[in-house]
């Protein structure tokens, strides 16, 4: 008898050990349940991280834009009713008013990680006889590359963006027959023209985007688009990506800008992420419940099987509280031991699945994310589930009338 084990633990361990087959089966059941939770959670975390990485490293999480221009009818004296049709005006490309001040404000906000002024416009990229209409982004590479990881998507060349350079999408390069080092003629609608050198080619993972994407230095774009000193958007990255919408709303309320978060502009994607999280939560809940019912069922049977032992223990002066704890400890132990095996099973299955499940191009389907916190959390959850599941049988055991129990 282990001298370090209290009475309740000694009884619980022996009872579990004596009912070996029953214990093995329920631990097997718990292990499978916990394994499913670990596998699902880790795989979904990996898939989600992958999706988020793809979506959020190729676009800002919040974009500040000039507000919509609206026409306001002139009114006569107050209270006079007018009947007029107000036509929506065409939206001119104009700069964000006092943008350096707004940028400074954004940089001062603790929840914001990076801020970058950008100018967006449409231009014509011409090389020889080929010409394509493209989206021109004028950026400050130092700050912008912290928001959109352009260097990560470069497939040829280097992430250089001087006033004479241009980074273009791989599909656009194919269409224009251009490669790194070639010159491109960029023409704006106003007639302004610049000849720029292709410094690198990027692949943002989407064909139509790759056909239209062009990055140039901010000043180059400002001069091409005829907006010297102006910008059209301020791009922002935040610490908590799920707080982006709330932060955007606060920014919009405090400034004369329109703030769009990635949650708003990628509503479908965000819904998919949320649906995935909800599904995972539901799976965890139902697996947890089935584990709890399994533990409770085994312990209820154990209480019936052990009723004579309980009666003897009560006759010997064991309190109701001690009997209660004997069965609670059994529930907790089953949950804990099951979670250890389950975590190992889940991790093994995940590593195996990660090695066999590949994308069409042979790259991994999802990154392998096995965080220690997942195992700690699962072990804790399984142990607490075991304790809670043991509550009803333990109370039943504690309430057993010793006379009836001994008589059997």
């Amino acid at each position: 008898m282990n001298r370090w084990l209290p009475f309740e633990w000694t009884m619980a361990v022996r009872f579990l050990r004596e009912g070996r087959l029953q214990t093995i089966f329920i631990i097997g059941g718990i292990s499978i349940g916990v394994g499913v939770i670990v596998f699902m959670s880790a795989m979904l975390a990996g898939l989600q991280a992958n999706f988020i990485k793809r979506v959020l490293t190729s676009q800002p999480q919040i974009q500040l834009l000039t507000p919509d221009q609206v026409a306001r009818p002139l009114r006569n004296s107050a209270g006079e009713i007018e009947d007029a049709v107000v036509q929506r005006p065409s939206q001119r490309v104009i700069s964000i008013d006092q943008w350096p001040k707004i940028r400074a404000q954004m940089q001062a906000m603790p929840e914001i990680v990076a801020v970058s002024p950008t100018i967006l416009g449409s231009v014509l990229a011409v090389r020889g006889d080929a010409s394509r209409s493209v989206n021109l982004s004028g950026v400050e590479p130092d700050s912008y590359f912290k928001i959109v990881k352009v260097p990560d998507y470069i497939v040829a060349g280097e992430p250089r963006l001087t006033s004479e350079d241009i980074i273009i999408g791989v599909e656009l390069a194919k269409d224009l027959g251009a490669s790194v080092g070639d010159k491109l003629n960029v023409r704006a609608a106003s007639g302004a023209t610049r000849v720029l050198t292709v410094s690198s080619l990027v692949d943002l993972g989407n064909k139509s985007v790759n056909q239209r994407v062009c990055y140039v230095a901010l000043r180059t774009a400002q001069s091409l688009l005829g907006m010297i000193g102006g910008i059209t958007t301020i791009d922002i990255t935040v610490g908590d990506i799920y707080a982006a919408e709330e932060i955007a709303q606060r920014i919009q309320a405090a400034n004369v800008v329109e703030a769009d978060s990635w949650i708003k502009t990628n509503a479908q994607f965000f819904t998919a992420v949320q649906a995935q999280q909800n599904t995972n939560t539901l799976i965890r809940l139902f697996v947890g419940l089935s584990v709890a019912f399994g533990i409770a069922a085994v312990l209820v049977v154990s209480v019936i099987q052990r009723s004579k032992d309980i009666g003897i223990l009560r006759a010997m002066g064991t309190s109701r509280g001690q009997i209660l704890r004997v069965f609670l400890v059994q529930g907790g132990l089953l949950g804990f031991v099951g979670s250890l095996f389950g975590a190992a099973m889940g991790a093994f299955a995940l590593v195996y699945w990660h090695s066999v499940a590949r994308q069409a191009d042979g790259t991994e389907l999802f990154p392998l994310i096995l965080e220690r916190s997942l195992f700690v959390y699962t072990a804790l959850l399984a142990t607490v589930t075991g304790l809670l599941a043991a509550m009803a049988p333990a109370v039943r055991a504690a309430k057993l009338d010793p006379v009836v129990a001994i008589r059997g």
Partner: protein, 227 residues
């Protein structure tokens, strides 16, 4: 009376109280047991002997009447105090040995002390070994309960009943399931303990030979003590 260990005054026990099926099984039992006394309780099956023993053992409550153990009125005690009193004052020996099968003989004897103190200790283990030696089973200390004969198991049960050095041992037909030789050995063992340590015994038995070897015989018939 200074040496009185047990006193029952007009104790009644009824089941299904308040229902049409209410049945009274003990009718006004008066009983005293002195320290060091070895009392035999006899009577036909269904006469209420076991019910009386359960009430004396604080496993059951009388419907009416007064029960005093070592001068303490049980009616005034709560569940925790009753459990404590039972653990420290009363030892039980049941008819069907009723050892806990998951434990060895030594561990079964240690069990009441373990429940009381919370953790095993060398002292508890030494006392269990001493008691097992007293009942002649020191060589079987490490045997699981199920790997012993009926007589051996009953001797372990006697050793367990003595673990907390109780003032009173209640034995419910402890020899009822044993052959004559083993029954005699177990009875003699209890008599020896009674003589050596002054522990009182209340022995329920059908065996008149054994009953005659006790200090006093009380006969229960139809829930009443026959004078």
């Amino acid at each position: 009376m200074a040496s009185e260990i047990l006193r029952l005054e007009n104790v009644c026990k009824a089941y299904n109280v308040g229902l049409p099926t209410e049945t009274e099984v003990l009718h006004g039992i008066d009983l005293e047991l002195d320290h060091g006394e070895f009392l035999a309780l006899i009577g036909p099956s269904g006469s209420g002997k076991s019910t009386l023993l359960n009430i004396v053992g604080l496993l059951d409550q009388p419907t009416s009447g007064r029960l005093r153990i070592k001068g303490q009125d049980i009616a005034a005690l709560g569940d925790t105090e009753i459990t404590h009193l039972r653990g420290h004052t009363i030892g039980f020996v049941f008819q069907y040995h009723l050892l806990i099968s998951a434990f060895t003989a030594r561990e079964n004897v240690m069990m009441p002390m373990l429940a009381d103190r919370g953790f095993p200790s060398a002292e508890i283990e030494a006392r269990a070994d001493l008691l097992l030696a007293q009942v002649g089973l020191e060589k079987f200390a490490g045997n699981l309960a199920n790997n012993m004969s009926g007589g051996q198991q009953q001797r372990v049960a006697v050793a367990r009943a003595l673990a907390m050095n109780p003032d009173l041992v209640l034995a419910d037909e402890p020899t009822g399931n044993l052959d004559t030789k083993s029954a005699d050995a177990v009875f003699e063992l209890m008599r020896q303990v009674n003589r050596d340590s002054g522990t009182s015994f209340l022995l329920v038995t059908h065996n008149m030979d054994l009953a005659r070897r006790c200090d006093r015989i009380i006969e229960v018939v139809d829930g009443r003590i026959r004078a």
